[in-house]
């Protein structure tokens, strides 16, 4: 260590001692406060975990109750099934109507009166 470092160390340590003199709080008090803070945090975490678990259980119960009630399954009775079914003949009422003008729409056939060996051409 050089002389200047030695001088600086002595002077600064004195300054530091003056600045901090009697200001440090009791270790036991600070450490106890830290321990209390940790245990409080732990209790809070446990409580939050408990609340979260309770919410999950409540949600599962509510969702479980919202499910449809279970039915007694049974085979279909053919007679009952047939009676519950009605059948109607197909109808064309829903089909579009196809109407045409027999005078206007039918093309005029070209007729010939010329004959060939007695037959009309």
């Amino acid at each position: 260590m050089t002389d200047i470092e030695h001088t600086l160390r002595e002077a600064l340590q004195q300054g530091q001692k003056d600045a901090e003199a009697g200001r440090a709080p009791d270790f036991d008090t600070v450490f106890a406060a830290a321990e209390a803070s940790v245990s409080q945090r732990r209790r809070r975490t446990t409580a939050m975990g408990g609340i979260a678990a309770a919410i999950v259980v409540a949600a599962v119960l509510v969702i479980g109750q919202m499910r449809p009630a279970e039915r007694d399954w049974q085979y279909v009775d053919p007679d009952e099934f047939a009676n519950s079914t009605s059948w109607a003949a197909p109808s064309d009422v829903l089909l579009p109507e196809h109407r045409f003008d027999i005078f206007g729409d039918i093309p005029v056939l070209i007729e010939s009166t010329d004959t060939d060996e007695g037959a009309l051409l």
Partner: protein, 170 residues
Amino acid sequence: MRDSDVLVNNPHVSRSALEAMHGQVFGWALSRCDFEQAVAEDLVQQAYVELLTGKARFDGQSSLKTFVFAVVQNLSRNRYRRLAARMRLLGKAAPEAGADVAQLEEPAEHNELWKAVQELPARQRDIVELVFCRDMTIEEASAVMGVTTGTGRVHYDRAKKTLKGRLAND
């Protein structure tokens, strides 16, 4: 280290070891917050909480003192980041209100050289304090500050030069 003394979540740290360095840790916390007693007490308590919960886990790679000092340093940085963010918000809402919050307690009266140290740039002030007041090596001080040893050495040399000039003037 007595077995009953060891922290449950930090098997390499004992209560008695923390007690032995409590004064130094508190001094370091004080200088991290412009000598505000209440803030320093909060910082130290928070550091102990981090050690008790094992969030800051000491694995013996450095000395315990270096480790605890680094924990305090990180906590104070986080605190200043939060404060800065809050002040930016306050500044946006009402610029005068931000100025009020920034006002901090004046440090107590010390000798001239101590005052000169307080006027150094933050990194230089930190390394001077750690080396000269807390008896750390430059390597240890750099580890606490979170910089490389080379960078720490540069800050140390610059600070020493400034203080040497100050000593010569006095």
